[in-house]
């Protein structure tokens, strides 16, 4: 089992470079999310880059290492949490300001403000980044963990064996 895990993934060069890069990629994703109010795309672009960090790690180190870092179930649950935070923020707008999606923290000026000023757009973007990053990772891990075989003339979906 342990030999198999060691042999999983790509070669040493890819593993080493991924080891150096993954943190920076993740950090760049976080940077984009935190500056999402000033950049086009915002939380979505940042979320995708965060997901890329996880996907790159999984590709380089193999599926088991990737799943150990972040399992599909946890990722899917985090995505649900993100979606619920988003929904709660929009409903809070409806309750406090009388309109769904209204900025319920600041004075209603969504957009160019410093991070430390309170503004609901950060909550939207953080939630969106969580949803996007985790869902992209879930889609990647589900599609890579399942392969289709032909048995008795019929195609069947099989989960990859763990050892």
């Amino acid at each position: 089992m342990s030999d198999l895990i060691k042999r999983e993934g790509m070669d040493l060069v890819a593993k080493s470079i991924t080891g150096w890069l993954k943190g920076f990629i993740f950090l760049f994703g976080v940077y984009l999310v935190l500056h999402s109010h000033e950049t086009p795309g915002g939380g979505f672009a940042g979320g995708i880059i965060i997901a890329c960090a996880f996907i790159l790690f999984t590709l380089a180190e193999g599926q088991h290492a990737g799943m150990k870092l972040l399992s599909k179930t946890v990722a899917a649950q985090l995505a649900s949490v993100g979606a619920l935070i988003f929904l709660a923020a929009t409903v809070a707008g409806a309750c406090r300001e009388g309109a769904f999606f209204r900025d319920f923290l600041g004075a209603g000026h969504a957009g160019i403000r410093s991070f430390f000023e309170k503004n609901a757009i950060y909550i939207y973007d953080l939630a969106l980044a969580l949803v996007v990053s985790m869902l992209i990772y879930v889609v990647f891990s589900v599609t890579s963990a399942v392969h289709v075989t032909v048995k008795d003339g019929k195609r069947r979906m099989l989960r990859q064996r763990r050892s």
Partner: protein, 495 residues
């Protein structure tokens, strides 16, 4: 009431994302939550009857933000979607127990409901596209839910053709936006009325006809439906055939044709609709007779019934629209009922192949009676609801000078009767075939869902007795379609 409109989308979406969080430990949550959500939504839908209004998301105006609009047609669709959805949620509790992952099922189901409610509420064309994609992607996943060979193949076919349709629609929206500079449907109508037609707008209209025709499974765009609808679990088949093709196809088509483009602008459009309608009606009905798979037979019959609705819309007269919208409502009810019957038969016997079934009326008397009732309703036997809506469509055909369409509608009603009698005979009443031994009547909640729909088949007849006057559903919907482009356009759908 306007402030509550957004909750038609927010509540099911919230529940859809809440279910995966809790249901790994609490197994009873998905069933209870989905049923509670659907009950609340159905109650809210009935409260919208007689109401109208516009809600601006985020408080931004029509030019900047997204509008939700409530008028007669929206109310009719909301009531249809959420009532049928409630019956499906009740049916799912025991039916879906044989599948492994109820939590994923209910999440997708609630996403589907949220998307459907969004389609009928939004007043913004691009937003409509987004909601349509939510519906489409949830349906692809739900069709593939069984993960067997047939399900995956059907889902793949559905996904490919659905994506083609979505691409057509998106290009059409982009063209319109480039020319008119707005995505709000009410503003579009005003600008179109002022500017008239030109070639790009005609191209956009053609793309919409193909795209939404594919979503509505009109012949010749129907290839995905007879595979996709039988492959899904029974409640989802019922929802797809009963509600989804009507919301994503017929509702949007009628909204665009009657409210945005308006008939005065494109006079030939109605004859194109009538052509599509009559071809779907005839071909779908004839193809249904040859089927041996119970659900496939019903799926082809859906194409035929969609043909009736499109013929009614294509007449463009108030009587034709009344018939079309009433038939849309009726068809959702009895087609869902018939799909649930097929689901119950499959649940009890493990097969839906009519050649292997037989004599089930003695083993499953309740299901057999419900199937008989649904079959009578779909083939237009009085006093059930299907008779009245077909009668109105036939009368409307004669009134507007299309006796051949009326004849086709009557003849195809008989053909529908032949198809459903074949289903009844082979599944339930043929005593000469060996009775399926192990079959027993289905559990209580499944019977409750069927009974609810069967009762609706009778209750909807009462709409005719009131002469479609207020506060019933149909007249405000017809008004919304026929009177929108009047002087009030731009400040709300004929409110």
């Amino acid at each position: 009431m306007e402030n509550a409109l957004i909750f038609f989308v927010a509540i099911p979406l919230g529940a859809a994302f809440f279910i995966p969080l809790v249901s790994l430990t609490l197994k009873w949550v998905p069933d209870l939550l989905a049923n509670a959500v659907m009950a609340v939504l159905a109650a809210m839908a009935f409260l919208t009857i007689g109401q109208a209004g516009v809600y601006h998301l985020g408080g931004w105006g029509t030019h900047l933000g997204i509008d939700l609009r409530l008028d007669g047609l929206t109310t009719l669709m909301l009531v249809t979607i959420n009532t049928i959805g409630l019956a499906m949620a009740i049916f799912s509790v025991q039916y879906m127990a044989k599948y492994t992952s109820k939590l994923r099922y209910y999440s997708l189901f609630l996403c589907l409901i949220a998307g459907l409610n969004g389609i009928v509420l939004t007043g913004d064309l691009f937003n409509l596209y987004i909601f349509m994609e939510i519906v489409a992607i949830s349906s692809y996943a739900l069709v593939a839910f069984g993960c067997e060979h047939d399900e995956l193949e059907a889902a793949f076919k559905y996904a490919v053709l659905g994506t083609v349709a979505s691409a057509f629609i998106l290009i059409g929206i982009a063209l319109l936006y480039a020319i008119l500079g707005t995505l709000n449907m009410a503003e579009m109508a005003v600008k179109l009325a002022a500017g008239g037609m030109n070639t790009p707008i005609t191209v956009a209209l053609g793309l919409f006809l193909c795209g939404f025709g594919l979503k509505a499974a009109l012949i010749p765009f129907h290839a995905w439906l007879p595979d996709a609808h039988p492959a899904a679990p029974a409640p989802v088949s019922a929802l797809l055939s009963g509600v989804v093709i009507k919301t994503a196809g017929i509702y949007v088509l009628s909204r665009l044709i009657f409210n945005v483009f308006t008939v005065q602008l494109v006079p030939d459009l109605l004859s194109i609709l009538r052509l599509f309608g009559v071809v779907s009606m005839i071909v779908g009905g004839i193809l249904a007779i040859g089927q041996w798979d119970m659900k496939r037979l019903l799926a082809y019959s859906s194409i035929s019934q969609i043909g009736y609705i499109v013929v009614g819309l294509g007449l463009g007269t108030p009587l034709g629209l009344t018939g079309a919208l009433f038939h849309m409502l009726n068809h959702s009810v009895f087609k869902s009922l018939l799909f649930l019957n097929a689901g119950a038969v499959e649940y009890a016997t493990g097969s839906r192949d009519l050649r292997h079934l037989g004599g089930l009326s003695r083993k499953m008397p309740f299901t057999a009676n419900m199937a008989l009732l649904g079959s009578m309703a779909i083939s237009g036997i009085p006093p059930l609801n299907g008779f009245w809506s077909k009668l109105i469509i036939v009368l409307a055909c004669i009134e507007s000078g299309h006796p051949w369409l009326a004849l086709a509608a009557v003849v195809m009603s008989l053909v529908t009767l032949v198809a459903v009698l074949k289903m009844l005979k082979h599944a339930f009443y043929d005593e000469s075939k060996p009775v399926t031994v192990h079959a027993t009547e289905v559990p209580l909640l499944m019977r409750t869902a069927m009974l609810l729909l069967a009762a609706l088949c009778f209750v909807l007849t009462l709409l005719v007795l009131t002469g479609f006057r207020t506060p019933c559903l149909i007249a405000p919907a017809v008004d919304a379609l026929s009177a929108w482009a009047g002087p009030t356009a731009g400040c709300g759908m004929g409110i």
